[in-house]
Every structure is written in structure tokens, then in C-alpha cells.
Amino acid sequence: MARIGVFVCWCGSNIAETVDVKEVAKYAGCLPGVVISIDNKYMCSDPGQRLILDAIQKEKLTGVVVAACSPRMHEVTYRRTVAQIGFNPYMLEMANLREHCSWVHPDKRMATEKAKDLVRLMVEKVKRNQPLYNVQIPVTKKALVIGGGIAGIQAALDIAQGGYEVILVEKSPSIGGHMAQLDETFPTLDCSQCILTPRMVEVAQNTRIRLYTYSEVEAVDGYIGNFQVTIRKKARSVDIKKCTGCGQCIQKCPTKTKSEFDAGMGIRKAIYVPFPQAVPNKPVIDRDICLKFTKDRCGACQKVCPTGAINYEQQDEFVTEDVGAIICATGYELTETHIYPEYGNDPDIISGLQFERLVSASGPTLGELKRPSDGNAPQSIVFLQCVGSRDPLAGRPYCSKICCMYTAKHTMLYRHKVHNGKAYVFYMDIRAGGKNYDEFVRRAIEEDHAIYIRGRVSRIYRKGEKLIVLGADTLLGAQVEIEADMIVLATATVAPKGIEKLAQMLGVSYDLHNFMCEAHPKLRPVETNSAGVYLAGACQAPKDIPESVAQAGAAASKVLGLFGQKELSREPIVAQVNQSTCAGCFTCKEVCAYKAIEIREIKDKKGNLIKFVAEVNKGKCQGCGACAATCRSNSIELCGFTDSQIFSQINHLTDGVTIEEPPGEVPMDAEETQGVSEETEKERLIEKPALAGQKVKN
């Protein structure tokens, strides 16, 4: 027989103001099966929780209903509380009197009536609850980090430091990412490569990190603690074991193209190492332009290679790795420079990243600032911020975040190269929140004399040697016209093309702009809705280096936390198949987004196959219920939300109108209701409040 305790919370005035909590508690006390009903100002407080524990022990409760806030809020609290004294936590349910009632209804009388309904339904549900036990799943203590930029590098190093193996996958020939392309970094102006390359070398030297460069994640299978990842190692055409990195092949290669690393400002060969400090420092052949592959001639690299490392026959290789956690650190891209037609497509209009390469000592001009059209040092540069970002019409209403700071940095770098040059900045707002950030911008304006103009640019056109910039100075309320030698656009930061495919593979949701979504914007910023998959860096939203590094560390700590556990324990709200009625149509298997349905053979004692049925892999199941909804013979149920629980709730919602229960479905307090005709049952339910007071203990 059910012995249910109901605990009604005031939530201060949050619930009590709109719901007569005393009346609700009285009413609940008269419900069949309820043996104690108490109200308290804050049920989640220590004394409140003690009330529940005491009641469970004194009244020998079989089920508990806490009528308070949303279960999203405190269900975990209460379940943990009751678990302390050995009470099965899944015999406790919450009736949501706050979000579903007091906060949304103005009328106290009606809200109180609804609160009674909510409590009554939950009491009916709890009567049919079954004790559930957490699902234990093993963990493969090896992590996969996707993306070898600063975020990926940091995450990989931190996990390796924690003592676990890491697989780092990078799609380009070298790790380093965008940070390797930068000249100096704000707000300290320290050399980007000088602080990055030691980290890159550390990755290469760390025995716990296995590096897959020029590789991509092809498929992801499995679930938290037990992922199977297929990695495509693209054919490098160079045997990385034989290659010594001498570079003779690069010297002899006759085919040239624009260098991606130099953002198109410099050139590279068809066989190339992206930059001198690349890790691994082994070349790769670009098969799209190499003459051997396009026209089947040349072969110079193979002829000069002293170790015979060049292998034109190499094929893409697929490797499968078992990992327990995945960190996605796939970074960002910049939009094209000619996204606004009114700005034209002049060679002297470049992006911020191209500017970085032009001023970098390792860049195509060896650090001498030359404008692309004629190679002269520009005497004046106009920097335009928010090109493509904060622009709803261009489809990107968001702020690219890093441009305010790097533009200020660019003006400084420029003035340090061309001492009497003039740097103009068109800005919408200066967003310099961050440690020493605003000071940095002030320094650009006050010490390096950058001229900041608040306004947008309407048009750019060429007039002889010069580019004419027409814009508005909204602070002066005047139109301005500036003659410039070069223009640098702070183009929008966007998610890499095609990244949604990876997101779909990982089961991570992404926003309108294809940035990946965190599980909660404030409280779970590095987790995703896909358990065991974490985010680091600009794949989530535009981020600068300090933020990316911090998030990478946070993601790594989540992974270390996961790996620190012997086994994973997860809540048992999973689907369950009644294999005796399962017809084996496997529609459930088709609809399962988590690939949690497996095929099981049912055999007789002699080992003859009787039939195939569906079976739920509890590790993979996320409890979404799609299978339960799709099963025609109702052979699948969701633990904690079984048909009989939901069915009795629906039945009791009609409040005594007709409660038809089949014999098997008589609640545990059957003695009370047995023999009661439909008519008297109806009366009894309606009259309940009048009986109030008899059973109420508070």
C-alpha cells in the first residue's frame, strides 16, 4: 500500500502569494494514499529538507511529492537529500507550483485549484513509480581534441598533463592555427609566434599526445565514455617517417600558388611546409596544383629527395580510435574582404589577417610594410571596423569581438613601422572590456596618435595612387573624405565553412551562424547537449586568445573530471523494451537519434532463433522517448515516465469524471477504492476539501 508524503513549498512569496499553500497541503492530505502533507516556507532549505527526511523515516513513506519549483531547479537537490537515508531517489517527484502555476496565473483562487490538480496528478504518478537505479557505464580514458589551434593545443596539453592520452586532429598540415599567423598580440604586444611555438613543440614532444595533422574526423559513433572515432589521414604524398625536413624538394618545386598561411599575401610551392616553425616540420604535396598529379610530369621533388620520402602513390588512410571524451576546438574563419560592393575590390583593401602577415617578420615582406599594389610603404591607412559584423542586413547581427582590439593593435604596429604615417579608424563602438584592454586602446589613441572616427564608411574608390574613403563622422555630424594608401577591413569572424557537418556528427547543436552551442550560456559554457563533447575556443563564438586558452583549460578540466571517475553513473531515465511483445519492426531503431537501439536475438533452450527484438543500450539512450512514441505495439516505455504513470495522471486530471481503471491498474491503495462505485468515487473526490483537517499533520 502506498504511503505518500506531500511537501508543499511557499518559495517565500513566490508561490505563497498566488497559491493558498495551506489549502493545497490540507487538500493533499486527504488524497487517497497520502499519509502526511506539510507546507514550509522554503522546502529547499536545510530545515525543509529535514522535514522530508523525518517524515520518510517516521511515516515509512513509499513515495514523496515535493510541490515546489521546477524540477529543473531542485529535483536533484531533493533526490540527493532522500538518497542520503537510503530512500530510492526516483520515488520522489516534483509538482511544479511555481513556473507552471504561481508565476503564470494572477487569480489566487484558480491558481490554488490548479495547484491542487498538479499535486493530485503527481501523487497518482508517484504511486506507480518504481525504484530506479543509476546506470553505470565504463569510460575509455583517452580524449580526442579536434582542431590544433591555440585552444586545441592548450586543451591537449592540459589533459596530457593530467595523465591521460590525447589524440589531436588537425586538418591542415601543421598545428598552430590562426595564432601562428599573428604578428604581435594585444594587449601586451608580445610576439605571437614566440609564445605559441614552445607550446607547439611541447605537443610534438609529449608522449601522451598523438598528433594527426592533415587529417579530418570522418565519423563519430558511440556515446560519452565510449566514442568510436574514424579519422581520415589525408594522403600527404610524403613519408613522414623517412622525411628529414631538409627542404630540398621545396626548393626544386616549380609550381607556385598563393600561400594560405600568408592569407594570400605571399606564395608557396606545390610541395610546402606552411611556415618555418610548423609542427610537424614535414612537407605536404598540394595535389590540386602539383604537376605530377595534374599533368603527370615533373617529379622533381622525388628526384632530389635524399631519403626517398616522396610517395605519389600514397592513399588516404582511415584509423579508428576509441575515446571517452571529445573537445571540439575548430576555431573560426574571416569573411572575404569584398563583402560590401560599395567598398570595391581593390588590391590595397586587405583584411586584418592579411595585415598581420604584411607586418610580420616571418611574413612575405619580412616585416617591411609594403602595400600590395605597388610595394610602397603606405603613408596613411584607414582601418574599418565591423565589416560584415553587427550588420543584420548582411545576416550577421553579432559582434566579432576581437576586431576592436586588433585594430587598435594594428594602428600601433603601423606607427611603429611608419613613424609619421597616419592611422584612421572608423568604428561603431569601441568594445575594449578586458584586463588592460581599454588602456591599450587609449594608448593607441594617445601615444600612437591613431585617429578614431565614430561612423561608417559609405564608399571607397580609387583616385590615381590613392584610395578615397567617404564616410560619416557621427560625433561631428559631418561627412568626411580621407585619402588613404591602404585600407584594412576588420572583416567578420565566422564559423568555418562546412562545420555543421562535424557538429551533426558530434550531435552538437549550432546556432543560426553555425557557431556551436553550449549546454547553458552561463552555467555550462563548455559542455554541449551531447554528453561527453565539450567546446573550446572560437568554434562557439568569436573569442580572443586569452579567452580561448581559458576555455580550453576549462574543457580539459571537464574531461579530467570525467576521466577521474571509475565508471560513469547516469540517471536511469532510459527506454526499456518489453521483449515479449516486441514485434521486431525496428522502427524504433530508425528513429533513434542516439543509435541506442540494438538488435537482440531471442533463442529457445536449444539455441534455435525464435525472433529478433529491440534492445536499448542504456549508455547511449538519452531518454528522449522517440522510440516509445513510435512503437505501434507500445512495447517501449521510458523508465520514470511509464505508460501507466502517464495514463493514471491523465485519468485523474478529469477529477472524478470517470475513473476507469482496469483490474491490473488499481493503485496500491486498492483497499480504499475497492467496491466504491463510480458514483460514490465521484462524490468522494469532489467532497475532499470538506474532509480537510483530519489527516493533515501540520
Binding site: T581, T587, E590, V591, S633, N634, F647, S648
Partner: protein, 305 residues
Amino acid sequence: MMDDLKTRLKEMLTSGAIGMVIGYGQKEIYMADGSREYRTCPVFLSRDTEIDRLVWNRHCVQNLVTYLTKEEYKESGKIALMVKPCDLKAIHVLEQEKQIDRKRLFIIGLTCKGVMAEKMGIDEGHLAGKCIKCLDSSGKSSAVCTPDEADIVIETLPDGDMPPKGKDISSDLEGFEKMPSEKRWAFWQNQFLKCLRCYACRSACPMCYCEQCICDMSRPQWIDKSPHLKGNFLFHIVRAFHLTGRCVGCGECERVCPMGIPLMLINQKMIDTVKDLYGYESGKDPEQAPLLSQFKMDDDQSFIK
């Protein structure tokens, strides 16, 4: 052609290559007035001496695919089955839903030019409703059993002229849809009031293969079991939903209904809706994913509000 088939089936039965033939055969029926008549009905033959009873004529209206999922025939070894082109679609759906093992099946593909509506007292002597859409003016079926799908194809058409067309389900549906909603409601109330809950529709349906039908469940009891309007409505609505994207329109449910409830009106509507919305035809291809477990990015979503 039939003779060749019979010889072959006899051989296969004797050699044990097949365990049973499910086909159409003649059966002597005692009528109420004491007279005897020969009727065409499904026959289940497991001895070679019985094979001569097989016929292929205008009265072979039943969809024999239904029997494949029945418990009784699961132990019969390989089954040779007489299949009209339209019935082949049901085989495809069952294959899609992993209910039959094609290797356990020897398909005798029939070439059809329409069968007669064999409903008790109604429409007898007319072409079955399901054939009207399938046949063109010259009496050629648009559906054919190809040698790819059938293990043997019988190319002889049954004798006799084309029977006159009976009622056309499409025009029925059109007329029905023109009725105002109150009238349609009243129509179905009248129809479902008749339902005896004999579940003949369920038994005849090739898609109703669940070991335990949701209608028989008692914990919890989703659907009232007694034959009154409330439970009857629910039963038929649940059946319609369970057949969405699966019904191949064989019309067996309507044919076997002793109360003459026009069930194909519901099924045809669902078939049309599914085709209009998703371009999906059930049973077209055993390889296609079941309708309700797939989605395309360009699926119609206008009904989501």
C-alpha cells in the same frame, strides 16, 4: 503456364525445397439452401497431391501476404506464395519492417487484369475498387511482377472479359470531402456505431502483425474493448495512424468487414495525404526507409504552427 507451375511446385514440395504453397484454390461450399457451390478462396497446400487445386481467376481477390506473418506459417519452411502485382507492395513493406525473410519466400508473380469485388452481397460482379486505379482502359495493369522480384512469373491472364467497374474509391473520397464537417462527423458516428469489434479488419490486414495489439492491452487499457462508439472511434483512429505510410491499399479490411464499414475511405485518405505531403508511396521499394522514421530537409512543415 499454370500447368508448368503446378509441375514445378509439385517437384519443389517433394524435394523439400518448399514446405507449403499458399495460393488460390477451389473449395466446395455448402450453401444455406443445401446446394453446393465452388468458391475461390485461399488454400494452404503442403502435399504435392493437392497442388492441382490451385487456380488463377477473377475471384482471386484476397491478399495472401497477410498469412506470411501469422504464427502458424512461421514453422512451415520456405513458402511459395501467389502474389498479384498489387500484393507485392505489401511484401515490400513487410521487408522494410524486417518481418519477412525474402529467402524463406518463393514468389509466384501473377499477371493481372483486375479482380472482382467479392464482398458479401455488395458490388459482386464488379471490378474491385483497388483495381480501378491500377488498370488502364485496355484492361492492362500498371503494376507488374517483374522477374527480378518474383521467382517465377505467370504471364497468362485469367479468362473472361473485364467486369464492369464498381465504385471508385477516389470519387467516393472526393464526394465525402465535400461534405461539411458536422455531416462527416455524423457519417462516421453512424458507421462506427455498427462496428462489432470483431477485429476481422485487423486479422485480414497484412500490416497488423504485432504480437500484442495495443487494442488488447489492459495495463493500461488505452482503448475501451466493448463495442460502443467511444472505443470504436478510438480503435479505428489508432488503426488509421498505425497504417499511415504503411497501408498499400489492398482493401482487405473493408472487404472482410461484416458490417460494411467503408474503411478504405480512411486508408485512401491517408495514402493520398502521405503522397501529397512527402511524395511517399508505401511498398514501392523494400529499400526505402519507412515514412515515419525519415526526414528530409525540404519536407513540408506548413502544418507545424
